[in-house]
Subunit: 128 residues, 2 copies
DNA sequence: GGTGCCGGTTTCCTACAAGTTACCAAGTGA
DNA sequence: TCACTTGGTAACTTGTAGGAAACCGGCACC
């Protein structure tokens, strides 16, 4: 992979690697994916993204908001309404994530098949 | 984000989410990125991907090999040579990862700026 | 015989990630 | 008044990823 001038993603203290590290988080991927087409409320997001706890979702959203990827909007409704949506920056990232997601869905069978044949070859000894 | 028929990445036990979880790993991203244009030896990889320990690199490579993304080739040279390279499947993923990487490099400044303004607004109380 | 390199594996230990539970305010309805 | 909602935060506990370091075989050099 070629480097852009001035950056080296592989060096430990490269700021771009910080971004990459942040992105390398399943919840981030799933949350941004969920926000792709519409703004979503906190508890709705919690229900949609199966398996995430409030704490982690809250932390994830705060990180994303800090990174300028997600916008948080509070409405003074009956029970308070908090809506999360993607910013322009977040939407540009979401496009990349979508291609990721599509890769996963398209190639899941190939990966699963590779795992099975790998396990068949090496797994018998390692199974013990 | 729209769903492919039959899959739902958001449900807890979706196989595609397993793939996504695996991919959501900074070392995986960096290793595949490094293997993008050439086969690389173990210790070379360790030096290039700054900050990874042998153990974690070894585990990461094993996982990637099991997933059919990386190929491991051993040469019976003087000190044994082990070369890792991408499979066709791995290369198709690498293209996606590259766009990720490029996004990070292009938008690092926007993210950093967002972080600064966020911290300026909220950080004073939270800094303590 | 001792030291070094390559490519790992194993063990140990610790620090942080993350789950669970409890709690909060504010408002509404029974 | 109590219960229930939303959208969290805080405290406590557990799990586990990951770092450090030792060890391994095989060979080469001295």
């Amino acid at each position: 992979m070629r480097n852009s001038p001035g950056y080296d993603v592989y060096s430990r203290h490269c700021p771009a690697r910080l971004v990459l590290d942040r992105l390398a988080d399943k919840w981030v991927l799933l949350v941004i994916g969920r926000l792709w087409d519409q703004a979503v409320r906190f508890n709705q997001l919690r229900r949609d993204v199966d398996g995430v706890s409030q704490k982690v979702l809250s932390q994830t959203l705060k990180k994303l908001e800090r990174d300028g990827l997600v916008e948080r909007r509070v409405y003074a409704t009956v029970p308070v309404t908090v809506e999360y949506s993607l910013t322009a920056l977040g939407r540009s990232l979401a496009e990349t994530i979508e291609s990721f997601s599509h890769w996963a869905e398209r190639n899941i069978n190939a990966v699963l098949a590779a795992q099975h044949s790998y396990d068949a070859a090496n797994g018998e000894a390692a199974a013990e």
